[in-house]
C-alpha cells in the first residue's frame, strides 16, 4: 500500500461528483461486533488528531435521513431482506454524499466504522444476488485502505457477553432462522459472515488484521499501515 491509487468509484458513482476532486484519505475498519472496531477507531482518531490531521467519522445507521426510522423498523422485525438492504444503502448514501465526500474534498481523513462490505456480506448471507449488490453499491468510493479485524466467532461470543451480557438479535442472524438458540445462531451466522468476507477479500483486497490479539498490538499494526498510506501522498 505504498503507491497512491487513483480515486475512483466502484461503479457509476454519484451524479456530478468527480472522484479526482476528492483529496483526503478514506480509511475503513471492518469487523463484527466485538472485534474492537470502535476502540481501534477511537485510538486512531486520537493519534491522527494529535499529529495535526483533521478527521471525520462515519458508521452504519448514523445518517440524518433514515437512522431513526431504520432503528425503529428493526425493532419490529418486519423488514424483509430487500427492504433491509435498500434501507441500509440509503443510510450509507446519505452519509457518503453529506459527510464523506465533502470531508474528502476538504482534505480530511475519513474513518469509516464499517463500510459497504459489511452491508454486502449481510445481504449475501441472506441470499441476495451478488450482481444486484455490486450495482447498488457502485455508488461507493473505493477507500484508500480497508482493514478487516478478524476474530474467531468463539472469541466474539466471549467479548459480546462480557460487554453486554447478551447477544444482539441481528448480529446473531436470528432473522435467518438458523437456530432457535441465540448462542448457536450467533456462531453459525458469524462463521457465515467470515466466509462472505473471505470471498469478498479476493475482489476488494482487504487487509486482514488478526484482532484476536490485544488492543495495543492491533493498534500498532494499524498505525504502521495507515502511516504508509498517508506517506504515499
Amino acid at each position: 500500500m505504498s503507491t497512491k491509487k487513483p480515486r475512483r468509484f466502484y461503479g457509476h458513482g454519484i451524479p456530478r461528483v468527480k472522484p479526482e476532486e476528492l483529496g483526503g484519505k478514506l480509511i475503513v475498519v471492518e469487523g463484527a461486533d466485538g472485534s474492537g472496531r470502535s476502540t481501534q477507531i477511537a485510538e486512531l482518531v486520537q493519534w491522527l488528531e494529535t499529529s495535526g490531521r483533521p478527521t471525520v467519522q462515519v458508521g452504519l445507521k448514523r445518517s440524518t435521513l433514515v437512522s431513526a426510522e431504520l432503528e425503529k423498523a428493526q425493532e419490529g422485525n418486519v423488514l424483509s431482506r430487500t427492504t433491509l438492504g435498500l434501507f441500509y444503502a440509503t443510510d450509507f448514501a446519505d452519509q457518503l454524499e453529506n459527510i464523506m465526500l465533502p470531508a474528502l474534498k476538504a482534505g480530511f481523513i475519513v474513518l469509516a466504522d464499517r463500510y459497504i462490505y459489511t452491508l454486502m456480506a449481510r445481504d449475501l448471507v441472506r441470499g441476495m444476488d451478488e450482481k444486484w449488490l455490486k450495482n447498488l453499491y457502485g455508488i461507493a468510493l473505493e477507500p484508500d485502505a480497508v482493514f478487516y479485524l478478524s476474530v474467531e466467532p468463539e472469541e466474539l461470543v466471549q467479548r459480546n457477553l462480557a460487554k453486554s451480557a447478551t447477544l444482539d438479535y441481528w448480529e446473531s442472524g436470528m432473522d435467518l432462522g438458523l437456530s432457535r438458540d441465540v448462542f448457536d445462531s450467533f456462531l453459525t451466522y458469524q462463521s457465515a459472515m467470515q466466509s462472505a468476507f473471505k470471498t469478498m477479500q479476493k475482489t476488494y483486497g482487504f487487509d486482514i488484521v488478526d484482532a484476536n490479539r490485544s488492543v495495543s498490538a492491533v493498534n500498532k499494526e494499524l498505525r504502521k499501515k495507515i502511516s504508509a498510506v498517508l506517506d504515499a501522498e
Binding site: L65, E97, I139
Partner: protein, 249 residues
Amino acid sequence: MKSFAELNFPGRLIAVEGLDGSGKSTQIYLLKRWLEAEGIKVYFSEWNSSEIVKAATSKGKKRELLTPTTFSLIHATDFADRYERHLLPLLRAGYIVLCDRYIFTAFARDVTRGCPPDWVRGNYSFAARPDLTMFFKADLEVSLNRILEGRPKLKFFEAGMDLNLSKDPYESFKIFQGRILEQYLALSKEFDFVTMNANVNVEKQQVIVRKLVSERIDLKKFKRRSPLPLPPALQVEIETLEIEEDKAA
C-alpha cells in the same frame, strides 16, 4: 423482465403510469371500485406509501435533505417493502393488484434527476413486470393545467427545484415534467405500455380501461369464493324443534 403471469403467479398486477395530473389515479380508483363490485379479490397500492419508510421520505422532502441518489434509494426502499410484504403474498394468493405508479416512475424520474439508468434499473431488478401497464398520456399543457389550477403551491421536489432548472417553481415544474414525459415515451415501447388517451373525459376513459382489463385478464378466475353456508347442525336443530312443536299441537 418477466411478468407475473409468465412467472406463474396466480395473481395479476396492473399498473398505471403517467405524469402528475394525467388522471391516472382517478382511473385506477374507478377500476378498483368496479372490480370490488364484481366480487374480485383486489388490492390497491400507491407509490411512496410504505408505513415503515414513509416517515423518513417525508422528513427528507420537508427538510430538503435528498440528493438524486438518496431520493432514488429511499423510494426503492419504500417499493421493496410494499413489494415483499404486500404485493408478492397477495399475488401468490391470486389477487388482482392495482398499482398507482410502479418501477417505471423511478425509471423516468430518477433518470431525469441524473441517476444512471442502469443503476436505477439494477436496483429495481427484483421486481417483475406488470401484466398490464397503462400509460395515461395527456398533452403536457393539459397535465400542467390540472395540477397548477387545483394546487397552486408546489412542493420543492415535486417541482424538481433540486435540479436548478429555474428559480421559479412553476417554470421548473414545467421543464421537469416535460423531461419526465420524454423518459416515459422512451420506456413506453420498451416495456409494452398500453397508451391511454388522457385528454378525453373521465367516463369515456373508464369504459376503455374496463374493456381493456376484461380483455387482458380472465376476471372470473379472480372472484372471491361465495360465503360459506350456515352450519348444518344448527339447521337440523331448528327443524327438530319445529317437528316437536307440531307433535305437541
